[in-house]
């Protein structure tokens, strides 16, 4: 037989199991690294979330704790035309902005995906507005849209025409807010698409060129499939972002006229701080939470699918 001589049994009478120092052992002190964040997370996110749910079941204003009313606040929301309108407005806004952001962002990315100096400058221009704060953006666009002395009115004035009433026509206000938002937010989708385009190996394009593919066919059959996931990602990110519309609507139209531009967040804000109806505001918050949760789950599923196929 082989000389697989086993070692001498020197340590065979091993002592009772000593406390094993294990690098993978679940040690409480390892949790010290996550503790600072967890404290903030629990105190400022989890607690308010639970507190908010509790509030939504109460009739409460800012100055008194209120009384338990069960689901009465939710019933009130259900019966409130303005709340439904706010939800509708929010979806309408998402519908106005997200496809535009995705498509324009992609087109800009395609147009500017080159190494020339011009392209670099233009990228800078298109991304620049993204760093401005919402109040400056709305100020700028109010000054563009404002009747009488806005940029738009001035330009129309040269042709003796009256500009569309972007800030007061019920059919146009959401579009006005959407225009300002697209102007503000276009940089991010463009950049995301640009970096996706750069992930496409150049030799595929060389192969396509050898196959005599024209510009459109190259785009349709090579570029588009390659950035499909980024496209979905951009859409989902933008849905979640645009769902939270607040500043533009508050500052440009204050939700008017007659609530046609009032998004959900503004509804919540007004419920709490104009109507002092914290319970109602909290209930509306929970509805918003659920809607965004759905969007976030879609995002999760998308990114997980990305992980699987990557």
């Amino acid at each position: 037989m082989a000389d697989a001589a086993l070692s001498s049994p020197a340590n065979r009478a091993a002592p009772a199991k000593a406390r094993v120092q294990n690098v993978q052992a679940p040690l409480w002190r390892n949790a010290l690294f996550v503790l600072p964040f967890l404290v903030v997370f629990v105190a400022l996110l989890v607690v308010p979330l639970v507190w908010g749910i509790w509030l939504s079941l109460h009739k409460a204003d800012a100055f008194s704790s209120g009384r338990f009313v069960g689901f009465a606040n939710y019933v009130r929301l259900y019966n409130d035309k303005i709340f439904w309108q706010a939800i509708g407005n929010t979806f309408y806004f998402v519908l106005l902005t997200v496809p535009a952001l995705a498509v324009i962002g992609l087109m800009l990315a395609l147009a500017l995906n080159s190494r020339t100096r011009t392209a670099a400058v233009l990228r800078t221009v298109f991304f620049a507005s993204s760093v401005l704060s919402v109040t400056i953006v709305t100020l700028i666009w109010r000054i563009v849209f404002v009747p009488g002395f806005g940029l738009l009115a001035t330009v129309y004035g040269w042709f003796g025409a009256a500009p569309p009433a972007f800030l007061s026509d019920p059919d146009l206000v959401m579009i006005a807010i959407a225009i300002a938002t697209i102007w503000w937010c276009i940089g991010l989708p463009m950049m995301l698409f640009l970096s996706a385009l750069q992930q496409i190996p150049g030799d595929i394009y060389e192969a396509a060129a050898l196959d005599n593919a024209n510009r459109w066919r190259t785009f349709r059959y090579i570029t588009l499939p390659s950035i499909k996931r980024t496209f979905v990602l951009v859409v989902v990110i933008q849905i979640v972002l645009q769902f939270q519309l607040f500043g533009q609507a508050k500052l440009m139209t204050n939700g008017g006229p007659n609530n046609v531009s009032k998004p959900m967040v503004l509804y919540i804000y007004e419920a709490a701080f104009t109507k002092w109806d914290l319970g109602l505001g909290a209930a509306a918050s929970e509805v918003l939470f659920v809607l965004i949760l759905i969007a976030a789950m879609v995002q999760f599923l998308v990114s997980r699918r990305k992980g699987e196929s990557a």
Binding site: L38, S129, I140, L192, L251
Partner: protein, 298 residues
């Protein structure tokens, strides 16, 4: 490993726009048309900004008479002089810097620590806790707004810097990002350091943290911009003029222009308030672009 290569060598911004098609053949007519359209769009993009800048350089009273005054001299920098003399914009910029800076530093510290903890260390309930933190990603700020406002009232934190900074620190995005990033770093580095007798904290601080620099930049830039541009929370928490952030401060002046200092002055405030971040952007453009692209690839 592929993410590590990008971690070690952040893509320089010049690589953005390494265009595949245009490098192969000379510029065609189609390319020129596209370029022309893009430039036209860029001009449309710029027009509102230029309009605002032009307004800010005009005398308020002249603007009251007619907007066409914008298109011809005289131009004046009096509005800007007035800002320097009287406006609270400085204070608001300072507040925004403190809040955005504090939030950025705090987020980087908390997220890095927690990211390392979740990615590398084992402790009781780790996976449960991580899942809970992940679920936190789905909680929008607005959903906890009212309860948080009450909580901060109770803690007497409104109209303080901590009151403006703390809510942002609870966002789990940074922890998520950093955990992913730490996970992408080869475990052998920790193990080598363990054999080199380094403590867990030393491994975090001396060995791994420096490797997360690109992620820190991404997270830092997003956090800073997010905080700089936040409007909703400062609106209800920083309610005193000396605690206004720039966004709230500018908003507080903007609907009042008829009865206030006038359009030109308001515009000059907007320009004045927007300029620092735009200059920062031009200055750090390379990093911002890399950060955005980095976030995308991840």
């Amino acid at each position: 490993m592929s993410s590590m290569t990008s971690a070690h060598a952040p893509t320089p911004a010049s690589d953005v726009g390494r265009g595949a098609p245009s490098g192969m053949v000379g510029r065609t007519t189609g390319d020129r048309i596209i370029l022309g359209l893009t430039i036209a769009l860029a001009i449309v993009m710029m027009a509102p900004l230029l309009w605002v800048v032009a307004l800010s350089l005009k005398d308020n009273k002249e603007l009251m008479v007619s907007m066409n005054a914008v298109f011809h001299a005289p131009y004046t920098v009096q509005n800007y002089i007035n800002i320097l003399a009287t406006s609270s914009v400085f204070r608001w910029i300072l507040n925004s810097l403190v809040v955005a800076g504090g939030l950025t530093v705090g987020t980087l510290v908390l997220s890095s620590l927690a990211g390392y903890g979740f990615a590398r260390l084992n402790f009781p309930f780790r996976n449960v806790l991580f899942v809970i933190v992940l679920m936190g990603l789905a909680v929008p700020e607005q959903a906890v707004l009212i309860a948080r406002h009450q909580l901060f009232s109770w803690l007497k934190l409104h109209n303080t810097y901590p009151g403006l900074i703390l809510p942002g620190l609870s966002a789990p995005f940074g922890v998520f990002l950093m955990t992913q990033y730490f996970r992408a770093i080869p475990k052998e580095l920790d193990e080598a350091a363990l054999l080199d007798n380094a403590s867990r904290f030393k491994i975090f601080w001396k060995v791994l943290l420096p490797l997360t620099l690109p992620a820190q930049a991404t997270l830092g830039i997003f956090t800073f911009l997010g905080a700089w541009n936040d409007y909703l929370w400062p609106l209800i928490s920083g309610t005193k003029k000396e605690m206004y952030t720039l966004t709230v401060g500018i908003a507080s002046t903007q609907t009042n222009f008829a009865q206030s200092e006038g359009l030109g002055f308001l515009m000059s405030q907007a320009v004045f308030a927007g300029a620092p971040i735009l200059i920062l952007y031009l200055f750090f453009q390379k990093y911002i672009v890399t950060a955005v692209s980095g976030a995308a690839v991840r």
